[in-house]
């Protein structure tokens, strides 16, 4: 459960990780997050007034890892909000609300876990890996080699790239297909761009493999207040990604909405 107010926290570091950044903030009072939970972040200074006078609202980021009193976030610069956060330096302040949302349900004892990530969507898989006991296979897809360095966030990841510049040349779902072939009783945990998630969903649905998908959606609040972060639910109606998710059982979805994925 998140405290009922945003916290003003000090940035303790900003590390490069290939094409990504890892933002570290000191958050000693944070409740222990579940893997897959996220936080709403905003820079305490200079949030707004950029191109087009945005950002105005906070931005959602998966908690990538919790180390002592620090929370880590994997950032990709895709717009004014993420860019501003990427510029932060140690000593600056951020507003943080969280941890928020419904994280991954951990597997019943001794089922093999397949962690499938794409792009910035690998972030929640890192903290998930930290918490998993049994056998874990990590399959990560990226656009190119610079992004593939993000794989360093997890242990023992096997990598695929769209352009073949690192690891397997092709979509990460090629790797997943092979793994599911080997062990059809594995459980799948996935987070990434919408097309990847949709491919994972379809592949698992076909094989009746339970999959948990960590979705993303544009959010205004992160705690169910705005009804802005919806994705279509199988059988009609909508789910709110921020409170019904971000981790959603794949079978709740007919398809993964094209707006519901991570930056590629």
């Amino acid at each position: 459960m998140a405290p009922f107010t945003r916290r003003r926290l000090a940035v303790t570091g900003m590390d490069e990780l290939g094409a990504y950044r890892v933002l570290r903030v000191a958050d000693p009072d944070a409740p222990e997050p579940d893997p897959g939970q996220f936080a709403m972040l905003a820079a305490a200074e200079r949030w707004g007034g950029g191109d087009e006078e945005r950002p105005y609202l906070p931005r959602a980021f998966s908690i990538a890892r919790r180390v002592g009193a620090e929370s880590h976030f994997l950032l990709e610069d895709v717009g004014p909000g993420s860019r501003r956060l990427c510029e932060l330096q140690a000593g600056e302040r951020v507003w943080l609300l969280g941890p928020l949302g419904r994280g991954f349900r951990l597997p019943p004892a001794r089922r093999r876990s397949l962690l499938v990530g794409g792009g910035a969507g690998i972030a929640p898989l890192a903290i998930l890996q930290d918490g998993l006991a049994g056998e874990v296979v990590v399959l990560l897809g990226f656009r190119d080699a610079a992004r593939a360095q993000g794989a360093g966030l997890l242990d023992g990841a096997r990598v695929a790239t769209d352009d073949g510049s690192a690891g397997h040349h092709g979509p990460v779902t090629d790797l997943l297909a092979a793994e599911l072939e080997r062990d059809p009783l594995a459980l799948v945990y996935a987070c990434g761009p919408a097309p990847m998630l949709e491919a994972v969903r379809a592949m698992c649905a076909e094989r009746s493999v339970p999959a948990q998908l960590a979705l993303e959606a544009p959010m205004a609040c992160g705690f169910g207040g705005c009804f802005g972060c919806t994705v279509a639910r199988r059988g009609g109606g909508y789910l709110r990604v921020c409170v019904d998710g971000p981790v959603i059982d794949a079978e709740q979805l007919e398809h993964v909405d094209p707006h519901a994925g991570a930056p590629a």
């Binding site: 459960m1 998140a2 009922f4 945003r6 105005y56 609202l57 507003w95 205004a220 802005g228």
Partner: protein, 341 residues
Amino acid sequence: MSVRFCGLELAHRVINGSGTFDVIAARKAFGRALDAEFPFAAYVSKTITLKPRPGNPPPRLWETPAGLINSIGLPNAGLEAYMRSDLPQLTGLTTPAPAADRADGRSPPRDRAERFPVPLITNVMGSTAEEFARLVEACETRAEIAAIELNVSCPNVRTGLDIGADPGQLERVVAQLRPRTRKPLIVKLTPNTADVASCAAAAQAGGADAVSLINTLRAMALVRSAAGAPASAWLGGGTGGLSGPAVRAVALAQVATVAARVSVPVVGMGGVESTAHARDMIDAGATLVAVGTASFRDPAAAARIADGLARGRRGAAAAGAAAQPPRAVGVAGERAGEDAK
């Protein structure tokens, strides 16, 4: 120092804007902290309709300079589900008195502060007068509901515009609903009208106990895939409603003109993010101030503002304020520095 509004006793002057805070969902996020630190003096439900509505297809949000367009489309499970499943979860809310109202005038722990019940205001919208009548009658039967807000102003749904923007029609609708309930009726006016004061006067003439404003301004966002390509509407609903700081000055003007015209209390909202903004609304004639979009940035924004208002009142009383003559240069600083963030 509590506040009276339509016969209700409230802990302070700050409530939520309909559809911008979902207590039931927020409990999932914040657990008991939400109930302990509940920020609003009254709680306004999102708009409830007779039938369930899924709401608009996504995307539903677009950020603008200092504002937000939403095209949510009033998703709700319908009257029956609201009464059955939401109502029990929305009753019994309490809120602490604002910090400065406590004996020692000190800030938290809010958990030891005097607490006030949080009356539930149910916001309803019908697409016809009959639908409105059924909604109001249903609310009348439930003791848990302290007051009813009529949404005649939602820009995402045709009916809102039609009923709320025309004083004659608005008065007739309110007059038809008035006999159906003894609970206070608050009419949430539409800002998308030529003469909001006349609409407010019509609501009062029809029997409204209060009016609230502003709802969002009709707005739109376009996107295109590449330079030169034709644009298409971003929002799944085509158009949406603008809220947040961008609309604050418009809201203030509407609140002022309405408050000058009607004798019923006014709930002022639109872009309120700080104590100074809330005080502007109050000075413009509002009895209560509602916080909407600002809660998205900080769920406790309303509590911060309520504390600020209480501190200001104490400060003013102590310093015998208003004795000092206006000094323009001080204004900007005073405003910006007021909220302890």
